[in-house]
């Protein structure tokens, strides 16, 4: 390209500098966020790798003698004895407040050669190793609420075996006999180094969706800023065309003009990402942060991102400029938009179909189908594109109705312009529409968490203020009763009920539990029975039970001769009392399972999955809204400059500036409101598809107040962006704009 022409393109006026600064700023923010999102994805993958050993499930610790057919059991299961290369690993569920603690019990021979990640040799019985975060928690919490569960502190677990700096992990040493008493201890020879990758995979999917969401408004900003540049320099470009510059040269100028600030912006974005990396690494995802060392994007990815973003911006600018239709005599084609047809709904429908198919795959193939994530990501991207492509069609429909019903001059002018140029008009608000779509997606996702609030107290279901633990076999009723009395003494404990059965209970077994009928009210039953002994089904204890369980008369008249199978501890409902009850049960020495409450399902499930993303999501959406607001202001300014002569003449003929302002506001408001409802609805539909794919049975509900705040912010920003151009309406429609010469 001729240097003189390039200089003319780049250094045309002060407004060029402003425009280029806008492009550079937008790209810098976009690249910075993309790099931080990529760092988060890497960090999550590293986090999964560090915590891979926690996935080790081991092998069954017993052998079953087989009959001659080699298939049927012949005799009782025989324990496989511990050996130097074998340890026994237990997985007691452990919860403090609403935080899940990764707790591993280990029984090993003193001569063991098995290396425990993060600590090396296993702890001796009665000792424990804790992650630094858990140890801090233990030290800052009364011992009866937490510390008493683990014994004597032996040391901290090394970072190499911890998912993140906030990870709550504890490894306790127990005796072999104690571990074999429980139902779930396994034999382990070494710990797997292979991460299952589920968490990283899910978050990577979500983060890539976030990346698309961030880059979309940036490219829209570039497109709109280029359009503004073309409008500002229409005469200049027309003159160049008149003296022989080809349309390709003009487009090339736009590409170069955009590429240079984009490159500067992208490099600035890399610098910003480096600067903000430590702060961004503090954002907890899935309940914990990742180590700063894991939160990296790498030079290769940064270089690729810079090249791709700059190339995308240059291409968008060249294409946008080519479409402004500036010929040797000025604009010749700008008003000849093709009428949008319903075909524009194609990408939207294809995107939704892809996501729906991905959701079905996720439901059908619970082991994780490799096509699920690509279908959901691709479907999401197509849906986002679809919102933008279908927008002009919808805008035109609304404006046609609006024109028919228009009564005022402002309404006629605005509706007519929108109807003639629905693509250009919609483009100006598309950034905000996408932002509204994105915020709805995330709000829908976050709302899924809020459906798992603390369970309500209902007769026939375990009270949410109670915790229970199954009693290990072999303990006499007298011993268990004395343990129950001891627990009763703990502060905040209201009652302790011992449940009995004909034989020891295993988790999930379907069997009736018998209690003294007088204890029934303390478990939340309202029925009153004449009999001495009442019975209820074991499903009463399950946290996933939602249908109330009936209290019935037991087929026995006395509890004598029955085995104690469960301890149910009722508390005053405070978090402290619940944790004291857990500690008391877990250290009672008679329980085979960890203390459990109905609220545990929420804590142990995937509830944090999307919750962890909400902070990132709202940050991303906020940035997208700001960029979109700038785009709208630039676009509105371009729309005014495009028509400065004719609007100036209207003013000259007596049209008040207020009418022109109303025209500008309507031109932004109609397409925005026309598609806003659609994008909000689609956002929740997309969120729902994501949730049913990844949310394991969760569903979405009404979003929280932050959603309405974000949506209001979008609309306020739109209003502010349009209002910011009011000055331009007055100055650019002054008399000088109307001179014929």
């Amino acid at each position: 390209m001729n240097p003189a022409v390039l200089k003319m393109a780049l250094l045309g006026s002060r407004s060029s500098w402003g425009r280029m600064a806008g492009i550079g700023g937008g790209v810098a923010i976009g690249v910075c966020l993309v790099l931080l999102l990529w760092s988060a994805a890497n960090g999550l993958a590293q986090r999964d790798a560090r915590g891979a050993w926690l996935r080790e499930m081991g092998q069954t610790p017993v052998t079953v003698p087989l009959a001659a057919d080699g298939l049927t059991a012949n005799g009782r299961p025989e324990p496989i004895p511990l050996a130097p290369d074998k340890i026994l690993l237990g997985f007691p569920g452990d919860i403090f407040r609403d935080q899940l603690i990764n707790h591993r019990d280990i029984a090993a021979l003193p001569t063991t050669t098995v290396k425990i990640p993060g600590i090396g040799a296993p702890p001796a019985p009665g000792q424990y190793y804790a992650s630094p975060a858990l140890q801090r928690l233990i030290e800052s919490t009364p011992a009866e609420e937490l510390g008493d569960r683990y014994g004597q502190f032996a040391g901290v677990i090394d970072d190499s075996a911890l998912p993140g700096p906030d990870a709550l992990v504890v490894i306790t040493g127990v005796s072999e006999a104690q571990l074999r008493q429980g139902p779930a201890a396994m034999l382990v020879t070494d710990f797997t180094p292979n991460p299952y990758g589920e968490s990283a995979s899910l978050y990577r999917t979500a983060l890539m969706v976030g990346g698309i969401a961030v880059l979309f408004p940036v490219l829209l900003l570039v497109s709109i800023a280029t359009g503004l540049g073309a409008a500002q320099r229409r005469e200049r470009f027309a003159t160049l065309r008149l003296i022989g510059a080809s349309p390709r040269l003009i487009s090339g100028m736009a590409a170069v003009e955009t590429a240079i600030p984009s490159l500067a912006g992208a490099l600035l974005g890399v610098v910003l990402a480096v600067v903000f990396r430590p702060a961004a690494a503090q954002v907890p995802v899935d309940g914990t942060r990742v180590f700063l060392a894991d939160f990296t994007f790498g030079a290769g990815f940064a270089g690729t991102a810079v090249v791709l973003v700059v190339a995308a911006c240059a291409l968008v600018a060249a294409r946008r400029n080519a479409r402004t239709g500036i010929g040797p005599l000025g604009v010749t084609r700008a008003m000849h938009e093709k009428t949008p047809t319903l075909w524009r709904a194609g990408p939207l429908l294809a995107g939704l179909a892809g996501m729906a198919f991905g959701a079905v795959l996720a439901k059908v193939d619970t082991d994780g189908n490799p096509w699920t994530s690509p279908l959901l990501i691709g479907g999401f991207a197509l849906t986002a594109v679809g919102v933008v492509t279908v927008g002009p069609w919808l805008t035109r429909m609304v404006s046609t109705i609006g024109l028919h019903r228009a009564r005022s001059a402002a309404a006629v002018i605005a509706a007519s312009r929108i109807r003639q140029t629905p693509v250009a008009t919609f483009r100006s608000v598309s950034g905000l529409v996408i932002a509204a779509f994105m915020v709805s997606v995330f709000a829908g996702g976050v709302s899924a968490i809020e459906t798992i609030d603390a369970p309500e107290a209902r007769p026939g279901l375990l009270l949410p203020t109670s915790v229970y633990a199954l009693v290990a076999p072999g303990f006499t009723p007298g011993h268990v009763s004395s343990v129950a009395q001891n627990i009763q003494e703990v502060a905040g404990i209201r009652d302790v009920t011992v449940g009995y059965a004909r034989a020891a209970l295993g988790r999930g077994e379907d069997m009736d539990i018998y209690i003294p009928a007088e204890d029934a009210p303390s478990l939340g039953f309202r029925e009153t029975l004449a009999e001495q002994v009442a019975a209820f089904d074991t499903s009463f204890l399950n946290s996933w039970t939602t249908t109330p369980v009936a209290l019935t008369a037991a087929p026995v008249h006395s509890l004598a001769g029955l085995a104690p199978v469960v301890l149910v501890v009722g508390t005053d409902g405070t978090a402290e009392a619940l944790d004291r009850a857990r500690t008391a049960l877990n250290t009672s020495g008679v329980t085979a399972t960890p203390a459990t409450s109905r609220a545990d399902l929420a804590t142990m499930g995937s509830t944090r999955l999307i919750q962890g993303l909400s902070a990132l999501a709202y940050l991303g959406v906020f940035v997208a809204v700001v960029i979109a607001g700038i785009s709208l202001a630039a676009s509105t300014a371009a729309a005014i400059l495009d028509r400065k002569r004719v609007l100036g003449l209207m003013r000259l003929m007596g049209m008040p500036v207020a009418v022109l302002r109303r025209v500008i506001v309507r031109e932004a408001a109609v397409p925005l409101l026309a598609v806003l409802l659609l994008s909000v609805g689609l956002g929740f539909l997309v969120a729902w598809l994501m949730i049913i794919s990844f949310g394991r049975g969760r569903t979405i509900t009404w979003p929280g107040p932050e959603y309405y705040a974000a949506l209001s912010l979008s609309l306020l920003l739109a209003l502010a962006a349009v209002a910011a151009t009011f000055g331009l309406v007055r100055s650019n429609t002054a008399i000088t704009a109307t001179r014929s010469e």
Partner: protein, 237 residues
């Protein structure tokens, strides 16, 4: 056909000065425009004729001097002493404007373009469209009401602009090179139609032109040179 009232001017400029920065565009102009007359303002490019039109129409406020507007039977009003909002209102209700080109809103149909001043004045849309349609029919555009400006020829677009200028029945029509972008045949056609309509309605016209043939349609012409009136005379009938 109306007559020219030479007893009292509808527009009267006295000692009007105006400038842009260091450039003095008008240097103490005195001119009267009589009700019902067609006044041609001639002069070369840059002589100040458009600035004079803008001052007479209340678009620009003179730096010095006064412009009085006295519609028939009413007391004169000093336009240059009015605020911008009042001047805008006056232009909307009492004045009409036609320019050389590019004055129609490209997204509006011919009918909606013509209706605009009526809508701005508070007329209901149905009535505005009806009156606009009648005027467009009189200008020979009855088959073009639903066309966009881009679909009209130059002459047709100027006729739409004339219809828009006259639809409010203004007392004064300001026309700045109204045929400047047309070929001679189209120019004559447009000018004839416009003047027939204004003469029938008794509308006063201030016609800016540098074309002597266009000026020949006027009742009187003045020549502006370097911001001053250098000559004025009545055009032979």
């Amino acid at each position: 056909m109306s007559t020219i009232d030479t007893t009292s001017p509808i527009l009267s400029a006295r000692g009007v000065h105006h400038g842009f920065g260091q450039t003095e565009a008008l240097r103490g102009i005195d001119v009267d425009v009589h009700a019902g007359e067609v006044l041609a303002v001639m002069g070369p490019s840059g002589s100040g004729k458009s600035t004079l039109l803008h001052c007479l129409a209340g678009i620009l406020a003179p730096i010095r001097g006064t412009v009085a507007y006295a519609p028939r039977g009413q007391a004169p009003v000093n336009i240059s002493g009015l605020g911008e909002a009042e001047r805008s209102r006056l232009r909307l209700t009492d004045f009409g404007f036609v320019f050389q080109f590019g004055q129609l809103l490209p997204e509006l149909t011919a009918l909606d373009n013509v209706s605009l001043p009526l809508l701005l004045g508070g007329t209901k849309r149905a009535e505005a469209r009806q009156r606009s349609k009648e005027l467009l029919e009189r200008l020979g555009l009855d088959g073009f009401t639903a066309k966009l400006p881009g679909e009209l020829s130059g002459g047709q677009a100027q006729r739409v602009a004339i219809a828009r200028a006259l639809v409010t029945a203004p007392a004064v029509l300001f026309a700045d090179e109204p045929t400047g972008s047309l070929d001679s045949l189209a120019a004559e056609n447009v000018l004839t139609l416009m003047l027939d309509l204004v003469r029938e309605a008794g509308t006063t016209v201030v016609l800016i032109t540098h074309d002597a043939r266009t000026a020949a349609y006027a009742d009187r012409e003045i020549i502006v040179l370097d911001g001053s009136i250098s000559a004025g005379h009545r055009v032979a009938a």
